[in-house]
Structures are given as structure tokens and as C-alpha cells.
């Protein structure tokens, strides 16, 4: 489907695009304010999974709040927006623990050991229509 020079992407295409990337942004509401926090992520069984420390992102997950998750690729001209609920993963699978921490092996031991998954309620995507 095309809308004003944009292709609107279906769920499967959005999930495929999410699998091609590893860097996105979590949007949360903290008190009444929106917050955007970048994360390195992986797709595990059609859910967005990332490592975190005991900070804002983990609090949002423990409270199972509704979050947004955005990934885009400017050179390819697409963006995907996930609406979902975040949850803490108490028993991460080997697939999750294989997700590299943002600082690689330089991360202090014991940090970024908590995992958050975003259960996808809705995913939408847009791709700029190529002309000619």
C-alpha cells in the first residue's frame, strides 16, 4: 500500500527489517514525559530483546509498561515502529545471553546482566517510494 510517496509495510516485512538491524530506540513514558533511549537489540522469537542495567529501561520492564520501539535506516529509507509491552526476562535463553553487551568485553563484570523483552502488540513500517 502506498500513501503519499510512502510504502506502508506489513507485519512480516517489518519483522524482517528489524532482524536486519541491531540498534534501535525505546520510547517510554516516565512520569508524564516521553523519553527515548537507544539500545543494541536482537530479535528472539519475534520479540525485541536487549540487555540493560538496573536503570530506567529495567524499571519500565518490571512494571510491564507499554513502550514504543523504533528502528530506521536512512540510507535505505525505511523506518519501523513497534508498540508493545516490555517485560523483564528472569531466565534468559542462550540466544539472549549471546547478545553482545554494548561495550563488548570491556563492560564491567556483573553489569548489563538484566534482559528486557518487548512483546510486540503492533508493528508498522514505512519505506520511501523510489521514483523512476
Amino acid at each position: 500500500m502506498t500513501s503519499r510517496g510512502l510504502d506502508l509495510l506489513g507485519r512480516e516485512e517489518c519483522l524482517n527489517l528489524l532482524r536486519t538491524n541491531s540498534f534501535g530506540r525505546v520510547g517510554m513514558k516516565i512520569a508524564d514525559d516521553p523519553v527515548i533511549l537507544p539500545v543494541f537489540y536482537a530479535m528472539v522469537e519475534d520479540e525485541v530483546v536487549f540487555r540493560t542495567d538496573p536503570g530506567t529501561k529495567l524499571i519500565a520492564a518490571v512494571l510491564e509498561t507499554r513502550v514504543a520501539f523504533e528502528v530506521d535506516d536512512r540510507s535505505d529509507g525505511w523506518s519501523v515502529l513497534v508498540i508493545g509491552h516490555s517485560h523483564e526476562v528472569r531466565h534468559p535463553s542462550p540466544e539472549m545471553t549471546a547478545i553482545p553487551p554494548p561495550l563488548g568485553d570491556r563492560w564491567p563484570a556483573g553489569e548489563r546482566e538484566r534482559f528486557v523483552r518487548i512483546e510486540i502488540d503492533r508493528v508498522t513500517g514505512r519505506r520511501l517510494t523510489r521514483v523512476g
Binding site: R4, F23, R25, K29, D33, I36, L37, V67, A68, L103
Partner: protein, 158 residues
């Protein structure tokens, strides 16, 4: 905690996150070179995030939008604006986050001036409304590059 990086500059490292905290000047410098930003708004109580092209007008972020969800959210509550950059080769990256209330620009002379800024749309379609984001708060974080930082304690070690 203050550390000294390899440029001989003081850098502030957050011990909990291991990330360098960036001051306002460094945040503005990074924003000036960022090709794309993201705007978060709250709609019906829930956060939404949209990619947006933007320009800097002095120290304010300016962007254009149509009359859709972004404008509705920006008119009805606080917004967040984020830019980031990742270098997967060096495993480093940064992000800058602004919190503020968006101002709509109505003055036609102001709009004529803003239209001369280098700002194209992220996606096509008419974008009649200009929004200006003067940062009420601005914060930035950077993953320190490998081998580029030494703690004061390290430096004091023989």
C-alpha cells in the same frame, strides 16, 4: 567521576553505566552534524517515536510536520527529541536527548526565514507546520572508545 581521555580533556564517566556524560556544548556539536532525529510524543497516554529530519536554528531544533499524530502529541504535552550515532567498527556510539515543550511557529516572517534552513522532509507530503524545540533540558551520553580513556586512578598508578 572525572577521567582524562586521550585528547587531554576532562570527561565525566557515569560509574553505573560506564558511559561518558556529555556537556551541553558537546551535545549541540553532535546535534549539528546528525542527519536524522527522532521525536517522541505521548498520545492517549502512550509513547510514540517518529524519525524526523531537523535543522538547528541557533540552539533550537526546528522541524516540519503535517497535521498528524506528531503534531497532535506535540500540541498536547511534552516531547522528547533524540539523536544518536553508532560506529560499529570502533564499537562506540553516542546519543543526545532533549526534553521540552514544542512551540509552533506562526509568524510568516519567521517561517520564511526557517524555510531557508537546509531541511528536507524525511518522508514526502506537505509539512505546513513548523515546530521549534528549545531544550528545557539536554543530556548526552557516549560509549567511550576502547583505549581512549584512563581513569584518574589509573593515571596515578605507577
Amino acid at each position: 567521576m572525572t577521567i582524562v581521555d586521550n585528547r587531554g580533556m576532562d570527561a565525566l564517566i557515569n560509574l553505573r553505566t560506564g558511559l561518558e556524560e556529555l556537556d551541553r556544548d558537546e551535545c549541540m556539536r553532535l546535534l549539528a552534524h546528525a542527519p536524522l532525529g527522532r521525536l517522541a510524543v505521548i498520545v492517549s497516554g502512550y509513547p510514540l517515536v517518529f524519525p524526523v529530519n531537523f535543522a538547528l536554528d541557533g540552539n533550537a531544533v526546528v522541524l516540519r510536520t503535517d497535521s498528524g499524530t506528531k503534531l497532535y502529541g506535540a500540541r498536547n504535552g511534552p516531547v522528547a527529541f533524540e539523536c544518536d550515532g553508532v560506529d560499529s567498527t570502533y564499537h562506540t556510539g553516542w546519543s543526545v536527548l532533549i526534553h521540552t515543550n514544542a512551540e509552533e511557529v506562526h509568524n510568516p516572517f519567521e517561517i520564511a526565514r526557517l524555510e531557508r534552513l537546509p531541511l528536507g522532509p524525511w518522508c514526502p507530503g506537505p509539512k505546513p507546520t513548523w515546530l521549534r524545540l528549545r531544550a528545557a533540558t539536554i543530556s548526552g551520553r557516549r560509549i567511550p572508545m576502547h583505549g581512549c580513556t584512563n581513569t584518574q586512578e589509573d593515571l596515578q598508578c605507577p
